[in-house]
């Protein structure tokens, strides 16, 4: 599975530009699903039949990035953030555009470190002039973080673990699930990072009986960290709440029961700030019961997001088990 993860996380796909990673995922799941289609917001919606009720899983394909808004006369690029970006984590890093162009993020002179804001940064693709630059990149192009996947053994590091690790888990679950108890809609969503947009329209179109989002969450297990009782290696997390959703208590209890019955270790998650696709799914039409399975992840929204591989393997089992267990809440 590590090879699948590597392919999926390293792939290009910032919000609004998910076509490359969508093709990759399509090829991976095609032999294991009954139907696939792409909707008006670019969501990849796969159906694996199995029962009367509909369950929707949502894992977002998009990653954060930078959109070029200006090419100056010396060939430097100005940008706006796509999704939540912290200037501290961009400075000195590299971005990669769809056509393979690499850029370095530099900064204007600062009087004090606290003056570092996104509008003081620029991307340098090594062009000598404006014409040089425009031969490779144009206004509207979006660069994603550029950093390769590294296998540390028990832990894995890469850009875009948020939420490609969830995509990998959903792909693997579709491959390994034996007998689904529902019509399973596996939705690889778009534009989550800019407002849960893909999930919102996908859920409207499907109107599932139950919705489970798969994503990453932060941890409280690094030196002097935020107060949070989630750690790498303690199993996939069952979310209780974040700022976009108060998970339906009956769904949370259902998920805990499935984990207990199958002997899958899990932890409970309370996230103070941050949202997921479940927030959009729960408020669709007359309301949909919704929950989230999260993979604990350190250094979220940086070029080096870290997860625990045993959490990921348990995550696959957990998702497959949910697919096979009817929800009666």
């Amino acid at each position: 599975m590590k090879e699948l993860i590597r392919k999926v996380v390293e792939c290009y796909g910032p919000s609004g530009n998910e076509h490359v990673v969508r093709e990759l995922i399509k090829a991976e799941i095609a032999p294991f699903v009954d139907e696939m289609h792409v909707d008006n917001l670019g969501n990849l919606i796969a159906l694996k039949r199995g029962g009367e009720k509909k369950i929707m899983f949502a894992a977002h394909m998009d990653e954060i990035g930078v959109m070029v808004t200006h090419v100056d006369k010396h060939g430097f690029l100005r940008f706006y953030p796509v999704g939540g970006l912290n200037p501290l984590t961009l400075l000195g890093n590299r971005v990669l555009f769809e056509n393979g162009t690499v850029g370095v993020i530099g900064s204007e002179k600062l009087e004090a470190q606290k003056d570092l804001t996104l509008n003081k940064l620029f991307v340098d693709i090594g062009a000598a002039t404006k014409e040089d630059a425009e031969a490779k990149v144009k206004i509207g192009d979006v660069g994603a973080m550029s950093r390769e996947f590294v296998d540390l053994g028990t832990r894995l590091v890469s850009k875009a673990m948020d939420a490609r690790i969830a995509c990998a888990i959903l792909i693997e679950a579709l491959k390994t699930v034996a007998k689904p108890a529902y019509d399973v809609y596996a939705v690889f969503t778009t534009q989550e990072e800019v407002g849960l947009r893909g999930a919102r329209v996908a859920a409207y179109g499907i109107t599932p009986d139950l919705g489970i989002a798969l994503d990453v969450t932060r941890t409280g297990d690094t030196p002097s960290s935020i107060t949070m009782d989630v750690s790498l290696g303690k199993g996939p997390a069952v979310k209780i709440r974040d700022s976009s959703v108060l998970c339906t208590p009956a769904v949370r209890r259902f998920m805990e029961q499935v984990a207990k019955d199958k002997g899958i270790p899990y932890q409970l998650e309370v996230l103070e700030a941050g949202g997921t696709d479940a927030g959009a799914i729960q408020l669709t039409k007359g309301g949909i019961p919704a929950g989230v399975m999260s993979i604990a992840c350190r250094y979220v929204h940086t070029a080096s997001e870290m997860v625990d591989f045993s959490d990921v393997e348990h995550g696959v089992k957990f998702v497959a088990a949910i697919m096979e267990t009817a929800y009666t809440g």
Binding site: S15, G16, D39, N40, M67, D72, R197
Partner: protein, 339 residues
Amino acid sequence: MLLKELSQAFGPSGCEGEVREVLTQALGAAVGVWQKDALGNLIAVKESTRGPKVMLAAHMDECGLMVSSIDKSGLLRFRKVGGLDDRVLVSKHVVIGSKRVAGVIGAKAIHLQKPEERNQVITLSNLYIDIGAKSKEEAERLVKLGDYAVFATEFGYLSESVVKGKSFDDRAGCAVLAEVLREEYAFTLYGAFTVQEEIGLRGAGVAAYALEPDMAVVLEGTTCNDLPGSEEHGYCTSLGSGPAITIMDASVVCDKRMIGELERLAREHNIPMQYKRSITGGSDAGRINQTKSGVPVVVISVPCRYIHSPVSMLSLKDFEHTVKLVKLFLRSIEGGFVL
């Protein structure tokens, strides 16, 4: 001139009646069917048995003020309608309520101020509208709580092609839409003049919900900041460089196929065109895009300097090029352009 009439019409968010009247009068011959809804959106319906359903949207509402209390001295306290910077308010002429009562937003004379005061922003709580009433009772004969007010800005020409007036965001968009509606098309066209965009992108989404279009084009009057003191990368758009196409804003990622077609048409017909170069600020496009199972959208804007202030400026050349580009796009749909 319709742009002039629209610019001068009284229509802050929640009180767009006069704008609805101007539009229905001006388009009486061109539009046979009008629809309205629970929020006050005004939708021109040009139905066809063929082709896709295309929705064009421009918002009728403008930023303004609302009377929130009347002091015993007869002076009026007010709240802002929409995103107005406090600093544009002082020392302006406004008109209030259905009687269009004249008022001025006053502030302390410079003679009475200490030197330090002149460097401070006069905040909303220190501003008031003076309608010349000498007491609360006198004021209450002319205005009441909840009355709306707009800036009393007259439309005018700065040169043959550059004009000034209030609320080009988005009466310019409304004027573009009106021009487009004067022609006939071989597909169903909905011209949605929407409400309450400035207080939270409210009208467009409910209109799209009811109309269920196959695609939508939002027409805006957008930020143009090509001024001294701004760096080129902060201009957003430039006056005179043609209609501005949005690739992405804070609420939406515009459809690449629609953008591609607009680019092709602009090239082929020599229409100057630019991209909107900021992603801050949302638009009605976001609401339409996420309606039901999703609607592909694009935003085309007339660049306007000084939006969200009493007086804004645009180039009539940009305006005309915008109308031309939108019409070409619609003809292209007629000619078979599909998504």
